[in-house]
Amino acid sequence: MEPIEQDDDDLATPDELRQAIESLSPEELYKLHKTATYLLFGSEYQSAHDLLNETIMRAMNAAVGEKGRVWRKSVNFMAFLIMCMRGIANDSAESFQQTRVRRIEELATEMHSGEEVLAIKGHRHASHEDVVIEQEEAQERAAKAKADAEAIENHFANDSQVSWLIMGCKDGLAPHEVRELSEMTQTEYDTAKRRFRRGLDKLFPGRRAK
């Protein structure tokens, strides 16, 4: 596979990407960590660190002209990272294992085949057993998502405003539609959303920033 040509001045170089990481403030870094933690819901990733690591790897791959997530410097770096993390977390079309194998295969060189690079890195192609295991893991994730959704609903059952918010999210309603249906003001809606997030922190303490 030929590397993607990148001669656009707006595309970040590896050094610019590193400088952007160094320039993040503690508050921004904390927000990134917490965002990654929330993104674990419904995702195959097991930790915020795994997700952040994957995000930076893809951004750096793109910065060296390979396939990855391109950071255009005209886009705010925080916004890029968050959208990138969200995209990766939502990428349910491929399994975690497939994604990892594909990334290693992209590193295949004239000197080493994809198989050899995989061998060097201690990976291998998915066997029938791997596929079965992946299917089982996908079922486990779906069951966990269902359990999480029920736990969330039950936790806020006595808070009618948050319940409206949850219902709106589940039904894909826009915020103004939820406000109209529930007769909430903008302030009440925003406060309900805050209670919802803080409730999630309490409901799933293992998945929030410590």
Binding site: R18, N61, K170, R194
Partner: protein, 138 residues
């Protein structure tokens, strides 16, 4: 209810939480962290270390597989399998900082520079051609 629909619902709920998190001011964020007993500075520092290492390791992996196609005409140098001493690496990196003060400033703003950070940065600058290992008589 299909499992896909359940996951989509969870994603919508998760996004609502993230939207609220991102709306917090710095003061609100710090107050919330304090309320949760979370050490914001420590988590931030660890997150930066992780991101820094992810960036460096990706570059190292690219060098190992010899696939970097630089945008500039300069040919990148292969990372030497044997690094110079830590002190010599610091000298070489400082020389790069001298020619590019913003890089040095950004690095020092990280505050915590372990030996591993210096080694990673050295490798990256070698990879990018900013440091030429053959010029270094160590």
């Amino acid at each position: 209810m299909s499992s896909n629909k359940t996951i989509q619902e969870i994603i919508s709920l998760r996004d609502a939480a993230i939207e609220d998190l991102l709306s917090l001011s710095e003061e609100e964020l710090r107050a919330e962290a304090k309320q949760d007993g979370a050490d914001l500075e420590a988590i931030a520092s660890e997150t930066k270390r992780l991101m820094r290492e992810a960036a460096a390791s990706t570059l190292r992996l690219r060098m190992t597989t010899s696939r970097i196609k630089p945008r500039s005409p300069a040919v990148p140098h292969q990372i030497s399998m044997i690094r110079p001493s830590l002190e010599r690496m610091k000298q070489l990196v400082e020389q790069v900082f001298a020619s590019n003060p913003s890089a040095g400033l950004a690095f020092r703003q990280g505050k915590m520079q372990s030996d591993g950070d210096w080694q990673s940065l050295y490798d990256d600058y070698v990879a990018m051609g900013a440091i030429k290992p053959e010029d270094d008589k160590y």
